[in-house]
């Protein structure tokens, strides 16, 4: 469904990604791990269109994604749950979710999606009318994911969902992500610093370090590989 070929991106004068290639098949759950500054978020921004690459190609469901303007990419069915949640803080929980379903073809399934989101994250139903900015970190993350789901996406991009969250809350988030993938076979691309959580639920994984793919393979192989630890800690 998603194919990234030889992608190179420069960001603020520095090489953020060099010759990165990866594939996500339909229904697959792929994880990308790596230390801070490895370029994981830049990869997502390039897919979503807020950053333009120097070289390389991205194909989504057969079409050349780079030829599609950023605001239109969401309408193709790509849901990007950004790093740091990025909820609309001055708007209520419900309004945030409604905005997730902004694209016209998401409206018919709105009721059904809303039920599903509230089923996954009951706390959002409780806090429907609260301003998103007053939610806790974990609740905001749930909201961001819910907002992504509201658009009935074909591809879900999750950027560091555990960032800044306490371990127990992060665990909860990962369980929900796993559940979502299991229930709908939703094609999911997850970027994470927490290696085990990311790798244990995914089908295959890639390890990024300073903008390059240094390791890739099925998840069980990666979990047992000490080179992953080296990628993070340097020695």
């Amino acid at each position: 469904m998603l194919q990234v070929e030889a992608l190179s991106v420069a960001y603020g004068g520095l090489r953020a990604l060099s010759d990165v290639s990866l594939t996500v098949a339909e229904g697959e759950f792929v994880a990308i791990v790596g230390p801070n500054g490895a370029g994981k978020t830049t990869l997502f921004k390039t897919i979503s269109g807020t950053v333009a690459p120097l070289m390389g190609r991205i194909r989504f469901a057969g079409r050349d994604l780079l030829a599609v303007p950023p605001a239109q990419r969401a309408r193709l069915g790509i849901a990007h749950v950004p790093e740091g949640r990025q909820v609309f803080k001055s708007m209520t929980v419900m309004e945030n979710l409604e905005l997730g379903a902004y694209r016209p073809d998401a409206r018919p399934a709105w009721r059904r999606n809303l039920e599903r989101i509230f089923g996954l994250f009951p706390v959002l139903a409780d806090r429907q009318d609260q301003l998103a900015g007053t939610l806790s970190g974990g609740e905001q993350q749930m909201l961001a994911i819910g907002r992504g789901l509201a658009s009935s996406p074909k591809l879900l991009l999750l950027d560091e969902p555990s960032l800044g969250l306490a371990p127990t809350v992060a665990d909860l988030i990962f369980e929900s992500i796993e559940q979502i993938h299991r229930q709908d076979k939703l094609t999911t691309l997850l970027v994470e610093q927490r290696v085990v959580e990311a790798l244990q639920s995914c089908d295959s994984g890639y390890v990024l370090e300073t903008g390059r793919v240094v390791l890739q393979g099925p998840h069980d192989k990666l979990l047992a590989d000490d080179r992953v630890r080296k990628a993070y800690l340097g020695m």
Binding site: Q86, F88, L99, S151
Partner: protein
Amino acid sequence: MQTQALVEDFFQALTAGILDGSIYGLMCVGLGLIFGVMRVINFAQGEFLMLGMYFTLYIATGLALTALLGPYAGPFVAVALAGLVLFAGGYLLHRYLVSRVTGTRAVGAEGEGHYAQLILTLGVALILQNGGLIVFGSTPQSLRTPLSSSAWEIGLPFGGSAAVLVNKARAVAFLVSIATTAGLFWFIHRSHLGKALRAAADNPEAAIYMGIDVDRAHRTAFGIGTGVTAVAGGLVATYYPFQPYVGLEFVIIMYAGVVLGGMGSILGAFWGGMTIGLVQQLSALVLPFQLQNVAIFAVFLLVVLVRPQGLYGRSVERT
């Protein structure tokens, strides 16, 4: 008798403050959308106010609306039309000029965005002000309606025969202001498009991920802001004379009101404008007329120095 005169004066000033304040409130709502929500500096906002006044005048007389719809409805329809014209004007201004100095494109430009916005819109203001002088002439104009020169007399429940005069044109303008503000509030908070606009202002990056055309949203919000202020101008025109330089008088009032009301809040901007109106009228009780505006500047400076987050409005940290 002395006390009665004082009481009358006080309540007259209070009434005037509320009536004028509501119009200031509407002006501030317009700027609040632009400066408060989008954080764009528009130095030419006062000129849009002025253009609102003139367009109302010319539409009302030029299209013979007063003849067609009668002297009561005519001017107010003209106000609405003027608002639409200046919505379009603001939209185009943003599309072709302002957008070049806002947002990510502006980073790296000299003056880092905000300065460039200030200076660019200063240029626009100069052109509109002086262009106005050329096109409209310097003679003060006004839009006289039968309402402008009649007033209701409202007796006060105390103080003997004390009464307050309420100018009819101002009173109608007050009602229209409240209605427009309420309408705008409803639009921004309840309508689909309004939510998209708020989202685009709150977090442009996330808005793109939702599929919102952020550029178009910013333009639309800017246009609404200028249109609303123009409507306020049109309302002022029904009871106050104006000339092409009138915008400058109101610029500080508008910024003071928005800052006072708390950035990011439409209703806050309205209350901020209302407060300024009250300050102005009540200060007239003790200060000579020319120094009223000085009192407003003093308030503005105080707010900006002491409590820049404003007095009203919700204070949720923006992304």
